[in-house]
Subunit: 511 residues, 2 copies
Amino acid sequence: MKKNALSITRADDFAGWYQQVIAEADMAEESGVRGSMIMRPWGYGIWERVQYLMDQRIKASGHENCYFPLFIPLSYFSKEAEHVDGFAKEMAVVTHHRLIKGEDGGLVVDPEAKLEEPLVVRPTSETVIGTAFARWVQSWRDLPVMINQWANVVRWEMRTRMFLRTTEFLWQEGHTAHATKAEAMEETLSALEMYRAFSEEVLAMPVIAGEKPENERFPGADATYSIEAMMQDGKALQAGTSHFLGQTFSKAQNIRYQDKDGEFQFAYTTSWGTSTRMIGGVIMTHGDDDGMRVPPLIAPYQVVIVPMLRDKPEDEEVLDYCKALAKDIAKLRAFDEPVRVKVDVTGAKTQTKRWSWIKKGAPVILEIGPRDMADNKVAMIRRDALYQDSGKLDTKFLAKAEFIPEIPALLSDIQTNLHSEARERMDGNVKKGVEYWSDVERFYAPKKKHPGWLEVQWCKATGEELKSIEERLKKLKLTFRNVPVDAAAADGTCIFTGKPAVERIIIGKAY
Amino acid sequence: MKKNALSITRADDFAGWYQQVIAEADMAEESGVRGSMIMRPWGYGIWERVQYLMDQRIKASGHENCYFPLFIPLSYFSKEAEHVDGFAKEMAVVTHHRLIKGEDGGLVVDPEAKLEEPLVVRPTSETVIGTAFARWVQSWRDLPVMINQWANVVRWEMRTRMFLRTTEFLWQEGHTAHATKAEAMEETLSALEMYRAFSEEVLAMPVIAGEKPENERFPGADATYSIEAMMQDGKALQAGTSHFLGQTFSKAQNIRYQDKDGEFQFAYTTSWGTSTRMIGGVIMTHGDDDGMRVPPLIAPYQVVIVPMLRDKPEDEEVLDYCKALAKDIAKLRAFDEPVRVKVDVTGAKTQTKRWSWIKKGAPVILEIGPRDMADNKVAMIRRDALYQDSGKLDTKFLAKAEFIPEIPALLSDIQTNLHSEARERMDGNVKKGVEYWSDVERFYAPKKKHPGWLEVQWCKATGEELKSIEERLKKLKLTFRNVPVDAAAADGTCIFTGKPAVERIIIGKAY
């Protein structure tokens, strides 16, 4: 019987499996600091790839990168809190600026060094960036302003989970200001589409892009859009959001411009963000019972060469052969970049090294021993198709000279294959055509594992009516995800109220 | 008479000039948050180039990037403070995790949400990274560990200055652990050499690499090395440091390994860092009375095309011509990368745009009007050779077809030229052969502007003797910079004590 590399399977304990993938793939670990993780080279390397590739798209669409302060004076938030209901208040606050020796010889906070005004560690930067926009924008000629920032942010979360919800996380936040409502809305949707395309094309992670209902909006936003990815346990992961902020923030922060007629107008602003949370999504989209599977576009190394070393004199020759092979592979280009290849020169046993790269999810693993060298062959393992039908590891012995030029096509095939597999799973798990609330209750019956999502018709309730629907969903641990931008028009009745339906909306369990 | 773009010249008021360059080049601005600046696209773009190019060197020398928490529990520092004298204590401390509505409707810190243990915002990461190393390192097989982190750090500075000394700044910090003292020392010096080469080759900023005397060491280090750059006012800027930490930190943090004989040994550690401070160094090395001059290797755009637009129908044609020109230029490669080119399509007057790019310091500026277009010519300004002898702007009218293929060589020439100019100035301003303390006093006479540095022979004093020498230097506002790694051997007497000299050391005023 086939035995997998992880001791916990997805089917048995999805949450335990998730933690084990992260540990066994050496992606991240608990830091000893509450709610904060350490991203290790393989996990951080994936984030670097995400940054690199998304940054290109952000810049290509006319945005420039800036850097704004980590600390935001408390008064900035007070101003925002006046304008914004439901403003989140769980934040890290800096109140002192010095340590001194305590009585026991250790260090304590110096009570003399209290700040006049507490500083909040940024949870997001609308307030401090808006204040800058107010300085930068005077005339219609100064618009649009389109900037982006890569930064760390902090939110004081009670229950944390690596990559998905950590006190500190890394992200990008785009912020723009525009002269007209139409332009700002176009920007909001263009950021959403950028995220959708990035997620599908780069992360190989299928998503549904759509608008959130009122109760799920970013506080202060006129409209919030999201991309929602389906994890292998059928839960939704919100993997990116784009907010149309209307004039709420420009009025709070006085972002005004003189139009062509000399009249003062408030600008329209947007903000949009994605974070290291996406990596959690990639794990739960592509990981299997042997560990992580990294899509080639974001794999720190796309091809890993494992020399079979036996502490014998011929080791040197095998190593040289592998290094020469790596050099040849590095000359190839895949996805318009040089192929990223690594020789694992560590002293561990071949089997240990092989399985460590399988668990890390390197797309292609090549094993080279003295015999392969003599035959001019490579033993190739493809991470997305690990086993033969028999359950045996599917190691292919290939002629080196023929195999090398095939690598770019192979990587491209793996990228496509991971995407198709995930796309098929998602498409098969969004059930449409449910007409009654009782069907919803049945669909999410307590014993059912990984039920997926429902697309239902509803009346687009607001206010109190929406709250009561929210309560009903909450009892089943469900939430609204979004109204897909490409959903069919409504043609039935609202499953919650029986009123004529206005649109179709996704519901499901979520992270 | 030639009139420069800035109202403050270097000769008149170097500090005022520095601030004006930053403002006029749109590099950074005050944020309204104490001691923190906003890096605007041109300034941050330079930092992105620095990151990109240094990251390649860091990785090529076998280091991998990780990410560690921003918040470090106070107890970690207490442990360090026991082991380390002179431990700096001006740090931002997070004590609370929630805001609530205050009596006046604004927000206040929730006194109920006090943290059990205060969290320090990282001033540097030795403690938290060392704690991880202690987990990662068990056997000699786990060594060396060689990692790097790009991050923001915070130090509570009393007097701040953009790029040079800000409360929050961006940096990279390398951290390594090794089995032997020799290996750790080799790593320390190899990081130092990486910084030296990067500074000279990439920033075009000449530096002296050398060891700091005892009183200038990083607290807890056995040896600290630095690169010191000379600013145009003759002051030194410490632009990077590399520390040999011996076993001080491994003992405090219990980084132990079992050697091949099964014996437990403490590892030897190093750390090394450079920061956004380097950009301050680049400004004060290359800037002139017309603003910034950015070395092509780190210029966000190397070639800027300014279309001469007149609000007339032919504008469209000029714009198209410029965009086609940009496309051709973007196909070229300089320094092994595609040439970075931008068309300035903003609606400002040609003269305004020209001078804004001169003040920003774009290496090559091309102006294109209808006449140039008709003649197939470009009007080219080279930022490092802005004026003719007469004082007139040196705009060269060149045949487009002949000029384009010359761009890579031109960029390379500008890079070299900026370096040579700075190298010559530095070499001419390090005076050697001073034999008496009275000569030092004369050299740094109060009225003298921009005196530069002295290389003097000294006895390598330590302890109390060193302290009294420090006091004498302090009266002249001087400090020891470093003992150049390539200085000649000592052959005279110590100018401070009259004892036989042990080595040659640089003294000067410093930032």
